[in-house]
Amino acid sequence: MAFNTLMGAKVRRREDPRLITGRATYVDDVQVVGLLYAAFVRSPYAHAKVLRVDLSEAKRALGVFAAYASADLRAAGLDVSMPVAADIPGMQKPPHPPLATDEVHFVGEAVAMIVANDPYAARDAAEAVVVEYDELPAVVDMEKAVAGGPLAHTSLPSNVAYDLPTKVGDVDGLFASADVVVKQRLVNQRLVPCPMEPRAMLAQWDTGPGALTLYSSTQIPHLLRTNLAILLGLPETKVRVIAPEVGGGFGAKLQFYSEELLVAWASRQLGRPIKYIETRSENFQAMTHGRDQIQYVEAAATKDGRITALRMKIYSNLGAYHQLLTPAIATFTPMMSIGCYTIEALECQLIGVFTNTMSTDAYRGAGRPEATYLIERMIDLVAGELGLDPIDARRRNFIAADAFPHPIVTGLVYDSGNYQGSLDKLLRLVDYPAFRARQTEARKHGRYLGIGFSTYVEICGMGPSAAMPAPGWDSATIRVEPTGSVTVMTGISPHGQGQETTFAQLVASELGVPIDNVIIVHGDTDRVQYGVGTFGSRGTAVGGAALKLAIESIQEKAIKIAAHQWEASPDDVEYRDGKIQVKGVPSNSMTTAEVGFLAFRGVNLPPGVEPGLDATRRFEPPNFVFPFGAHACIVDIDPQTGETKIERYVAVDDCGPIINPLIVEGQIHGGIAQGIGQALYESAEYDENGQLTSGTFMDYAIPHAAQVVSYETDHTTTPTDVNPLGIKGVGEAGTIGSVPAVVNAVMDALAPFGVKHIDMPLRPEKLWRAMQSTRNGATRT
C-alpha cells in the first residue's frame, strides 16, 4: 500500500489473527511448572464482626499448600492497607486490609485465602473454612447513611468520607433574577463494569534472584508494579508486571486489588507460582462498581430558555473502602456539569458516602457520564417547562464555535469545539421534522414514539500531571533495528482499543516503513519503559502523542545522518512520501531502513552523532482534551407492556482526526451499547441488608444483541492543539453521550402521559406503571 494512505484508512486490526483463532494468551492461558491455585473465602454478610476464622480443616484438605487469614498475614509481616491514590483534603480513610481483620464491610470481602495444587481442590478447601460472624446493622442507602443511619465502619465517626463544596460565579444573583427555576432529583444508578474476562492473575516468585513476576489482567502494569513493590517491600527492579491479552477493563482494571497483592505475597512465601482466576459471581461482588450518584439539581433559566446557573447537591456512593481512585471519580461531575453551554455560575455540595457495598471507582466515563446525564436531562426539563423544542433550547445555550479555547466557570479550558456543527449534521441525518410529523400521527393511533437528543462534551486524554492523582504523561520508544524492522514500546496498555494497529499505521506512515515491519510492544514492565497505562481515553491522545514525538526524534536524527552522506545541510533534507530526500530532488533519497543500517554500522556518521537510531520520548499534556458530539435516539414504547424498542440510534461524534475509522466506530458502537445498558437495563441492586441481588448475568442485564440496534455513526473533525496529533480520545464518548439521548427519547414518548422524569433503568414495568397511573388517574387526555 502506498505510503500516505495508511493514515485514516480502515486497516484490519493486526491484533486479530491470534484472537479469532483462539491463539491469544490471556492470564488464565499462562501455564508454568509447579503452578498452585488460589481461592478466597468471602463474607456472606454486608457488615459483621469476624469472631473467629478456623482454617484447621481447610489446611488438612487434599492438595492444600497453605491457608491464610488476616492474622496470618500480620504474623508473617504483611501488615498493610491497600492504597488510595486520590486524596481530598480532610477525607476519611478507613483502613483497608487485604483480608478483613475483625470486621467485614461488604458482601464478597475476602476473609481467607487458600492455596492448593488444583483449582477444584482450592475451592473445596475454601468451603471447609469456618468463619464465625456477629452480624451488625448494614447501611446501603447513601442518603440514610448521611442522615444518621448505621455506621458502615464502626471505627469511623460518620459515613461521610468527604463533603466538598464548590461555588463559582454569581449563583445567588442569577437564581434571584431567574425567570424560571427547574428542580429535579436524578438517580444515576450503580453499574457493574462486566469486562468479559473477570479478574485474573498469576504470580511467580523466582527464588534464585528473589524477584517477582505478576501476570495480571490490568490496565496499568507499571503503576501496579510500583504499588506492589512498595507494599511487598521489594526493590521495584525486582518486580515485573505483565499484562498479556486483557479481556476488557472499562476502568475496573485501572486498579490495585488486594487479591493481586495476596497472590504475589503468597507466591513469595511458598516459593511457588500461584494463579487466581475469579468466578463471575466473585467479579460481581468484588470488582469495583461504577456510577451510583443521587443528584439534587436546580437550574436557573431565563424565559427564552437560557440556563444561567446550577445548584447541585450530589451524593456519591463510594462503597465500603477507597480503592485506587474511588474518592476522585465523582469530582468530575460538578466540574463538567455545565456541558457545552454558556452557564455562568454553579454551586455544588458533593458528599462522598461510605456504605456497606463494593467500592465504586472508574467505569467507562468515570464521573463524566453523570455530568452529561445531569445537564442533558436538565436542559430537556427546562425546555419542557418553557414549551421550547429541545433543539432550540440547546442552540440558545451553546458555546459559540468561535469562542475556543474557552475557559468555563469551573476553571477548565475547553480546547476546541463546534457543538452547533455536530448537531446540524445530526439533524440532517435524522430528518427531525419528518419524525415529529410521524410521531404526531402515531399518537393518534395509540403508538408512543419519542426522540431524545444529547449534545455532550467530555473531558479526557488524562491528563496534565498536576491535575491527576497519578502521573498524566505517557511514553514511547522507537528502535529502528539493523534490518530495518521497527520496534515500538508504548507505555499505554491497550486491551481491545487496537493500538497495535493504529500506532503501527502512524509509524509506518511517518517513517515510510512497511506496516508489517513495525511491531508494537506493550504491557510488560521489563520490556517497556515506564508508562502510565490505558484509561481516561488517553491511549492515543497521550500515548500516541508521545509516539509522535519519538517519530520526530527519529526523523531528526535520520535527516542528519542522510544529509551527511550527501554532504548536504540537514536544513536542505526532509522526510517526504516516507523517504528522506534532498528538498526538491526526489531522485536523491534514502529510506529509514537504509539510514537505520548506517546508524547501526556506525561508519560515516556526522560528528557528534551517536550510533544507533532510536528514541524515547514522553508527552506531558498541557491540558485535557474535550471531545464532543450530538446523539439522537428514536424509541417506540409499547403501551401494553411498557417495553422500549429502539428504532434508530444516530451519533455524530468529534474526536479530532481519525487514524482508523474501523476502530473509532467500534469504540463508539461499544460505548453506545453500554449507555443503552444503563438507560434501559442495568442496575446493581443491594437489598436493605446489603445482599447483592444482581450478582449474576441472569440478574444483571448487560445488553444482548437483540436488545440493541444498528447504530448510524458519523463524524465532524475539530482538531485540538493540546497534542501534536490534534487527536482527542474516543474510548468513553459513546457511553457519555448515549445515556441521556435514550432517556430523553423515552420521556419524549411518554409526554402525552404527563411524565416528566423516571429514573433509570427504564425497564418495562416502570414505564407501564407510569402510563397506567396516568390512565387510571386520567390526569391528562
Binding site: P17, M196, S281, G666, A705, G734
Partner: protein, 172 residues
Amino acid sequence: MSRIEIDVNGTHRTLEVEPRTLLVHALRDGLGLTGTHVGCDTSSCGACTVMIDGVSAKSCTVFAVQVDGGSVTTIEGLGAAADLHPMQEAFWAKHGLQCGYCTPGMIVSAVDLLRRHPDPTDDQIRAGLDGNLCRCTGYENIVRAVRAAAGAMRENSPRHSVAELLPAGGGD
C-alpha cells in the same frame, strides 16, 4: 477418575478426568486448548461455546464425561492463521471484536447459526446470538460479520490465510 475418548478437532484423544470435570476445563487444562474461554458461572455468557457433534454448546455446562465417544470442535479446530474459516475472516474484516475474549465462543455460535439459517436476516442473527455476551462491540460489527460470512459461505468462497489478508493493511 474416568477414562473418556473424544474426537477433538479431528484428533482422537483419550483423557482421564474427575467425573465432575467440566468439558471446558478438560479442553483447556487437559488438552491445552485455551482458545475456549470461561466468562461466567451461570451458562449466560457463551464465551465457552464449542461444537459437540456438530452443534454449538456451552462447554461450561457439560461434564467432560458426557461427551465420551463424541466429537468436539473448538475455535482452534475451526481454522488456523494459515487456513481461516470464513467466519473468522469476516470477524476480522468487519472489526467484529475488540478485547477478543468473547470472540471464540461468538464465532462458534455464529457458525452454528449459519448452519440453521444460511441466509439470516439481521433479526435472526441477533436472536441467534442471544446466548453470547459481548461487552466491547455493541454487537453492530458482529452482526455485519455474520452477514458477510453468510454471503461468503453461500458463494463457497475459498478459505484464506492471514498471510494473504494481512499485507499492507488493506481494509474493506
